[in-house]
């Protein structure tokens, strides 16, 4: 199945998408703690992520990547500024509304511990749909499972799957509910290069072929090169951007940031 996902050479992707942005952050600031102990994780970030685009967020450790992602996904509250997901402004929403919104519109792939250990792969994949009380679209489910290549692993529990397989299950889960945006925080951080390539190729094809929107945090220039665009963060600010990145271009940019 890897043949389906051989990396497409950078720059040969679809043209700039004309659709309205899926996620917009306006002057988002995030401060942890207060007084002397205050940590300014984000200092006024304004960025928008187009529908049907695959964006990578990069930057040195502690630059605020995860924080930004959490704020965009409605997992964390912002100190100031606004975040809009689709047409909904999520800043100021209560916990319950946010939870329901996440359930319906957002998909996640984390670096590790993506799956509920007591559930089988299939149950994990269907979890968000079940939570939302929706009937899974069987054809779509089969298609996704086929694409991630997990057909014969569906009844296994996470403990019986390899790291790469677990990440692919997480990807499948993020896709099955057809969320507006998928957020991925270092999804390949724990994987060897081959498994990483599988996951990344899969994410990209889901953008190309299924029209998903993906925002991915990564430290790996090769991983970032799968994206349509790279946003660079430093000290809680967006410092630069790169469209149609190549690994080398990304590396140069990182060096320039003094990371």
């Amino acid at each position: 199945m890897t043949s389906t996902f051989t990396p497409v050479p950078p720059g040969s992707g679809a043209g700039a998408p004309p659709a309205p942005p899926a996620v917009v952050a306006t002057e988002v600031a995030k401060v942890y703690g207060s007084g002397d102990a205050a940590v300014h994780a984000l200092r006024g970030v304004s960025v928008s992520f187009a529908k049907g685009a695959f964006t990578a967020i990069m930057g040195p450790s502690g630059s605020g990547k995860s924080t930004l992602m959490h704020c965009l996904a409605g997992l964390d509250t912002v100190t100031s500024g606004r975040v809009t997901l689709g047409e909904v402004e999520i800043t100021g929403l209560g916990d319950r509304r946010l939870t329901l919104l996440r359930r319906e519109r957002v998909g996640f792939v984390f670096q590790a511990f993506n799956l509920v250990p007591t559930l089988t792969a299939e149950q994990n994949i269907l979890l968000p749909l079940e939570l939302a009380g929706k009937k899974p679209d069987r054809d779509w489910f089969d298609q996704v499972v086929e694409v991630v290549g997990l057909r014969d692993r569906l009844s296994h529990r996470p403990a019986e799957l390899s790291g790469g397989q677990q990440q692919r299950v997480a990807c499948a889960r993020a896709l099955v509910s057809r969320p507006e945006v998928i957020f991925a925080d270092e999804p390949t951080g724990n994987l060897d290069s081959r498994s990483g390539a599988e996951v990344l190729g899969f994410l990209r094809s889901s953008v190309r072929e299924m029209g998903r929107t993906i925002v991915m945090v990564t430290h790996d220039p090769v991983a970032a090169s799968y994206a349509d665009r790279v946003v660079f963060l430093r000290d809680g600010r967006i410092v630069s951007e790169l469209a149609r990145p190549t690994p080398d271009a990304v590396l140069d940019q990182l060096k320039a940031l003094g990371g």
Partner: protein, 847 residues
Amino acid sequence: MLKVSLAGVRAHRLRLMLTGLAIMLGVGFIAGTFVLTDTMQAGIDKKFAGSASKVDVAVLPKKGKVDVLPEEGPGGDRVPADLLTKIRALPGVTAVHGLVRGEAPLIGKDGKVYGDSPTRGLSVTDGPLQRYDIVAGKAPVAPDEAVLDERTAKRNGFKVGAVIRVLDAKGAEHRFTLTGLADFGVDSEVGFYGGVGFTPATAVRMTGERDPVEIDVLGGDQAALRDAVAAVAGARYDVLTSRALGDRLADAAGADTKIIRTGLLIFGVVSMLVSALVIYNTFAILIAQRMREMALLRCVGATRRQVFGGVLLESAVVGLAGSLAGLALGVVLAAGLLALVGGMNAEIPTDRLTLTPTAVAVGLTVGIVVTVLSALLPARAATRIAPVAALRSELEPGGGRFRLGWPRRILTVLFGVLGVGLALLGSLSMDKGETAMFVVAAGGALLFLAVIALMPALVRPLGGAAGALPARLTGVPGRLAVANARRTPRRTATTTIALTIGVGLMSLFAVVAASGQATVVANLEEQFPVDFQLHTQFSSAQTDPELPPALAAGLRARSELTGVVEMRRQEARVGGDEVEVGTATPAAFGRLLKPPVRSGSLADLKTGTVAVNETIAKHQGLAVGDTLRIGTGRGQVPLKVVAVFGGETSLSSYVVPESDFTRYFGAKGPWTIYVNVRPGTDPERALRAVEQVAQPYPTVKATSATAVKEQFTSAFDTMLMIFGGLLGLAVIIALFGIANTLSLSVVERTRESALLRALGITRGQLRLMLSVEAVIMAIIGALTGVVLGVAFGWAATESMADSSVFALPYGQIVGLMALAGLAGLLAAVLPARRAARTSVVESLSHG
């Protein structure tokens, strides 16, 4: 290592606190028992010392002849009256009082003798030897004056100055003016039946007891007086100085305190057992969670012994803290209970709480030893952790699988077969009685061990069954809860077993009580299908009280009543033995009285014949057709045996026809009369008719079958409530266990919870998930307990007596399960809040 242990306690203080609470409750119960009984005993000692100090020397029957108080029965436990005269004549004696004690039935407000047993008649002097406190009015001085104990006076509405009626030993009525109210001291008999105090001479006349139960003497030097009195009293009597008298009285009353203590301590042991399970589980989980920490310790050079010692030290610290808190709780509990008891019963003086060194030592020792013992296995598990475990990536605790190993299988089969075998042996094939009950109890203990061994394997199926409904109702949270309850089978098993103990014992008692009640009712209905029974008070002085002969005729004359049956009986000699010969109204045989006839026929009971109880027949080797000789007022009479009967019956061992009975023993009143309501008559009217007929006879009491049933029912209910209350503590501790396991699991699953939250589980659903998990655990535990309790309740009932009837208290059992479920919900409140509160982001990044 000490530092590491203490740091461990500090770091996990919240988790350990719940463990500490379990110990605290157990130790608190035990310490509270000690404080309560010690305080009561101290009060009793003080009261008796005060009462005895009024006496210089006292003469009592020799100790050991009597085990309770020195007044039961006639003869050997009294002091002869002529000794009183001899002592009075001794030089130096200034005052002498012979304490009279006997039965003096008081006639209550309703014109009937008061109580089920006659009130006690006591002598009260107005001299310096007056031992009782007169709390209102004054002591009686004239022959027509009397005092009553406060409670009896209050129950009957008698005020000082009122005229009361008391029957003398021959049943003649006497009138007295109530001059005051007395406190007759800590005296269980007077406490139960009430007491009437007269002047000494009147007391002798009323009770018919010439010989006092004790002689009190005043007169100069105690030692010299004692020797002088002892010289005239002789070796058959104890002559005690006031101090020795106080000790002896307190000892006698202290027996009750000891019984209370032992009874309560049994429940304390059950609570500690449950605590031990909770502690064991907590430490086992903590060790599992700190696997890395332990391995790291091993990596940096800690030996196995050090790791082992470290864990034990940690448990000892927790045990000490919990026990200390338990002691404090015990004092508070005892104080509260005493305040409650003090309000109801002023007879037991309890001025100051007594915390003896024994209580402190026992509480602390039990608490610490139980904690450390419970931590032994987890500590051993900690030493098994290999140093490399520190390097391995994190393990998710609990694979959800549990394979029943061979040792467990063998134990389960062995104990299970033995337990069930013993239970069946005791309940079905052994002779009914104490031995059979012990065999059943042993079977119960063994089967419980088998269940403990098997429980981890039962968690999966039981969890699935218990969770089926919640999973359907609540969807994803419910299904996750079922999976969670089943993922760590050992942990869930231990948690639920703790609840099984309390619930099992509760349902066992519920079944035994319900069966006991059903047995009593069935026996009553089968043996006495009567609506009313007329009888006299139960008296120990009059061994064979008779009802007035005219009573039966009066009852037969009433149109509201029917089936009047007179039961008569008489002591007689058959061979060399004193036996009871009885008879009943002829029409009753085969109708009201139908004992199971083993051979012959009761229809053959004609002149010159006798029917014999099967036990006696077996013992004497009698069979139908044999002839026996019975001693009567007209000499030896030969009787032919025509029937052998069995069963639980009110018939005497030897039953002769009524006409023969009168011929042999003369006209004699019945000891009891059975009466039925005529069909179609209002029971209330019938009751009034019975009361009217009995009205002229103050000693005759009428009891209705319904009232007896109600009495038994309420007695059983009270018993059940007390046991339930005492076992409630064990259940509460088990709930702490559930809460503890759950909060430890919540900590363990922080990241998982965060993931679920990120994926769209609401806070409410997360809380629901944990609640369902707790309820599943509670239901597993309660269900196992109920099954075991009901099974062994049945076995115990069967083993008790032939006539036992098994009854299942559905309502109580269902209530118990519902309560367990509810309690599970309660146990989940705190852990669920904690789980719902944790921040998604933090847990995801730092988990």
